[in-house]
Subunit: 653 residues, 2 copies
């Protein structure tokens, strides 16, 4: 028990497994370089993504410090850089705007004059901060709970095409949301379905009020950042550390803004008040929770899925393994604990993680140092960034997302490899752009899961024949050597049998074997009726209407036709022994063998569909290669009337 | 083309295929008896289910006439009785109450005195009728569209346990909604999540105001109806037609109510005004549509699914076939066209269809006659039923649903056959009772589909061996005779490979074969690092840290451990040729054969998962029995680096 407890502690606090054996001489220098480089990126991203989350910039700094610090202790990935992330921040922003829209905060001036209502920005932002924080607490709780329940696997439902379509859509939303800052236009922020369209419309209908200074500054920042990004990529190998373009933009534009008094002189929107120092912990405003539960699930799952996919890539590259459930707990703790210190939800960011890894980061120590860089700014020189123009932050956000738009290149690739996955990509993208990220994600997941059902509905089915002299049974249409036994049809269909595909299974079975119980059934009824009639008449006991039943009879009303034929005097004489032939299918099929080797499961609906069809027909249906597990024992008993073990007939590979 | 056009007309108007050949002598008498019996049931059910749909009773009569008439022309099932149905009526009622709650219709008396607000029942009912009608129009449009698009298969997503759990929940809702009529208590009707609980609470907190006369009359009706039902079932074979208990209850209770003036003298709630005659057609109030779209889908799909399942059962029993898509179009047309004549949505009712079939109904003519019975009442003697007590209708509804409660017996049956299907039943039941029928259905469908995913996640996997002297490959653990080839592992897993199970597939693969690329990868890195170090030192070129890699090494940090071991001077000397052994897995596995005979599809995520793991490892991975179709050609090309056709090694299947 002591060993187990120790193992549990080590799993829960991975730092205890690696810190004691930390090779200082080898790793420390790399980690310090990497940590400082990452910290320098954390800072401007924190400020910028706070705008996306619809909260004042300083909360982005808090979010770049507490969770990053905590991850050092709980995280198992050595290379990912947790902190603010565009998509998550945008999702939070959407919720914050929905719960605290501008329209809630118009106040009439106290003196009651005819001045129009004024937007109380401070009250609005305070409310949005409350929403973002309590959402983060909930996200943390959900992630911790999922982690403890070993539900790390939920991330697999977010298949790659879905995530890429979704993140591309998120980038579209982000760019649209930043347009107004780039142009210096003051419009409302929208949320909910079609918000993207409303936002674009609002910005462009108000484009005449754009601030030229803001626009020029923003464009200059974009061009500079794009150039730096390009250089960093081109000279990746020659540069010891990537050029920190973002921090340069922040510093230079702050300087320019301060020097030229852009805020006062040119009405350029700036970041504004950044309080120095950290805030004491406080309980989130839990009364806001009821409206946020579903959003919390969306943020929790998207956040984790981003984190784990990146962590896995780095782990594979560097030859270690990450623990999905522990990652979930780690992220959850980061979010939960930090939210008491007024942060919004975080996960790892692709761009920042690449910086951390490429600058030589070896362990979580790099992340720790990055968080300390942010801490330094928060407690010492935060106020310096007050004149920073918002347009510079918009530029940082937009250039960071250019990589995401490269995902449009997935389209031709997926077109070639898989149309279904292309459809998932498209549905995720279109639904997320039009319906918003929350509903879009839900629609995309539902669609992705339905494609699986769809795929199980189109299995390959075949009639098998025996290859003489071997134990092999092969598709008659593909293998010339395969021959059928007389009166026996061996049916193989490459899928499990359950409610969504049992009809298709039975239809394929009927078509391939040529044995259609409905027709046989109809013929049986016709025969019975005639027999009754004959018995009733007592006149011509040996004259019974019999017609050969072939699979050509497919019309709905052949029963009646048959009867009319009988009535018109077209009667045949048969002996009793011949009558029993009547129920026999064409081609004298006496047995159907269902090859169930590929059948992994069957449900009662599927079992009934098969049983029901063949119950009243004089064809023996047997099952071969049944590998359905012991949990299905009840069903197997239930099916036992038709089931025969046939290992001699068909090998179960 | 003429023939095709003719075929299309025949498909669209099935009456043209059977009416010309209608055997009058044989069928007409049975159809008349059956039609009259069914009509006599249609009538009280129409009145009663209108209460469930929250509209005045006469609309139930309209709904028992127009759609029933239309179905004669468009339907392909000869035995189902379309018309009002409890579950659908309740769903409509829920929507009507949600869109037109009591709270919207309180008006203050004009004189402004201190009398409390009065409920304007007439305005409320008019609004509810509008909602029910436009919902029905939309249901019709959706059903027609689905039918034309050949989407009849959507019904298969409503698997049997789901439908049974759902209808049981609906019965619970119905009984709860009727309690107040049975007791004569006047409470509000609730809708939305938890409405069942609110309703029960409201009724019981107001139970002191129960009307004893109403209660006694209701209970008497219940006892009588139950008795009749029991007799009908016991003496099924002896009775020429079942005793029409419902119409007896209606007639007798109307008589009693009229004779004893129950409405005035004892404050028993009665049906009230029933206008005589039909209404001229009118366009539905389309402005109400936007709020009703999702409800329409729910009603359309549930309605169709009830209809088709019953139609299929009768078709199989009587040896004909029904066309799912045409049934969908037929129901859609019934709903759409009738809605212009002020009906609410219909489908077929189990209890009525059984009456129609058991009384000898042969064709749709029986349904036609049943509708004419209702027509007669509507145009001639509808007013007669004005004194009918509501409690009698509540009794009819409740007794009709007793059969539904027998579905609780599914629980022990499903427990024995399938825990997963039991879970579906329970989720459908609990979600539908608690969240209401609309959300409940959605949750249940989502859950049912997830169970399929879950099942694909737990396939049976095995390592196969060759049975000497045969072409068969069998599970090593099950078959003693099977032997492995040296250095080759044949891995078989009974499922397709896609995003939701590829991780599990790869994990099973690693575990069963004992080849874990991560460990090999880590070992490779360690070796490289040491090699670099050695080269850098130029001191001991032949001293390289090498440790045997076994699958026991599972700790996260064995890389570091290894390095520490090296640093502590524990070095081994190996030759170059020995180093290459280093990447080899334990047991000298050189090749892994993936048996893909049961693999019906693979997506790019699954393909990448396999490829990524084994890309950098010195183990050859080959695929055998790959039957993935031509649409996957792109993927197959992409996989071709590892794929080799292995028909000689493993037979397919």
């Amino acid at each position: 028990p002591l060993l187990m407890a120790k193992a549990a502690v080590l799993t829960f606090l991975p730092i205890l497994t690696w810190l004691p054996s930390y090779p200082v001489k080898q790793y420390l220098f790399s980690d310090v370089v990497s940590g400082l480089s990452t910290g320098v990126v954390q800072l401007p991203q924190g400020l910028a993504y706070a705008m996306l989350a619809a909260v004042p910039p300083v909360y982005g700094l808090y979010s770049s410090f507490y969770p990053v610090l905590l991850y050092t202790f709980f995280g198992t990935s050595r290379h990912i850089s947790v902190g603010t992330f565009a998509v998550i921040s945008l999702m939070i922003g959407g919720v914050a705007v929905r719960e605290a829209p501008d329209s809630m905060f118009y106040t009439l001036p106290a003196n009651g004059s005819n001045i129009s209502a004024v937007l109380d920005v401070e009250a609005r932002d305070a409310k949005r901060v409350q929403v973002a924080i309590v959402l983060t607490t909930m996200v943390g709780i959900i992630q911790i709970a999922l982690g403890l329940l070993r539900f790390g696997f939920v991330a697999i439902y977010l298949t790659e095409p879905l995530v890429r379509g979704f993140t591309t859509a998120a980038s579209v939303h982000v760019v649209i949301s930043q347009l107004k800052y780039l142009l210096g236009v003051k419009t409302q922020r929208f949320s909910g379905p079609l918000s993207a369209i409303y936002s674009v419309k609002a910005v462009f209908s108000d484009i005449t009020s754009a601030n030229i200074t803001t626009l020029i500054l923003g464009l200059a920042c974009i061009v500079f950042l794009y150039g730096v990004k390009d250089i960093n990529e081109r000279f990746k190998k020659k540069l010891p550390v990537p050029i920190p373009g973002e921090i340069i933009v922040v510093i230079v534009s702050t300087g320019v803004s301060y020097g030229l008094s852009l805020s006062e002189g040119h009405k350029v929107d700036v970041v504004g008040k950044i309080p120095t120092g950290l805030l004491p912990p406080a309980a989130p405003e839990f009364s806001l929770l009821p409206n946020l539960v579903t959003d919390s699930f969306a943020v929790a799952i998207v956040g984790f899925s981003m984190g784990i996919s990146l962590a896995k890539i780095f782990a594979l590259k560097h030859g270690y393994s990450v623990d999905g459930n522990q990652e979930l707990i780690a992220l959850g703790l980061c979010n939960f604990v930090s939210s008491f210190f007024k942060t919004f939800a975080i996960t790892c960011s692709m761009s920042r993680s690449l910086v951390q890894e490429s600058t030589g980061g070896k362990t979580q120590i790099a992340g720790l140092l990055a968080s300390l860089v942010v801490l330094l700014v928060v407690v010492a020189i935060g106020f310096v960034f007050q004149p920073l123009p918002q347009t510079a932050l918009a530029a940082i956000i937009m250039v960071n997302l250019l990589g995401m738009f490269k995902q449009f290149r997935d389209i031709p690739t997926l077109w070639k490899t898989s149309k279904i996955e292309l459809a998932i990509w498209f549905v995720a993208f279109v639904a997320s752009v039009l319906l918003g990220l929350d509903y879009g994600l839900l629609v995309a997941i539902a669609f992705a899961i339905l494609t699986v059902i769809y795929r199980t509905q189109s299995p390959k089915s075949a009639i098998l024949g025996h290859v003489p002299g071997t134990g092999m049974y092969c598709d008659l249409e593909e293998y010339e050597e395969a021959v059928e036994y007389e009166g026996i049809k061996i049916f193989h269909s490459n899928s499990s049998i359950y409610f969504a595909n049992c009809d298709l299974y039975v239809n394929a079975l009927k078509k391939k074997t040529g044995v259609n119980p409905e027709h046989l059934q109809a013929a049986l009824k016709a025969r019975k009726k005639q027999k009754e009639k004959v018995n009733y008449n007592h006149a011509s006991p040996s004259k019974i209407c019999v017609k050969g039943v072939t699979s050509e009879i497919v019309s709905n009303n052949h029963l009646m036709e048959e009867q009319r034929n009988c009535q018109s005097g077209e009667v045949h004489s048969v002996s009793d022994s011949e009558q029993s032939v009547f129920l026999k299918p064409p081609g004298d099929v006496t047995s159907i063998i269902l090859d169930w080797t590929p059948v992994n499961f069957i449900d009662t609906v599927g079992a009934k569909a098969i049983k029901q069809e063949y119950a009243a027909v004089d064809v023996q249906v047997v099952i071969a290669g049944c590998s359905i597990g012991s949990t299905w024992s009840g069903l197997q008993v239930w099916l036992s009337t038709v089931a025969v073990s046939l290992e001699e007939t068909i090998p179960s590979p």
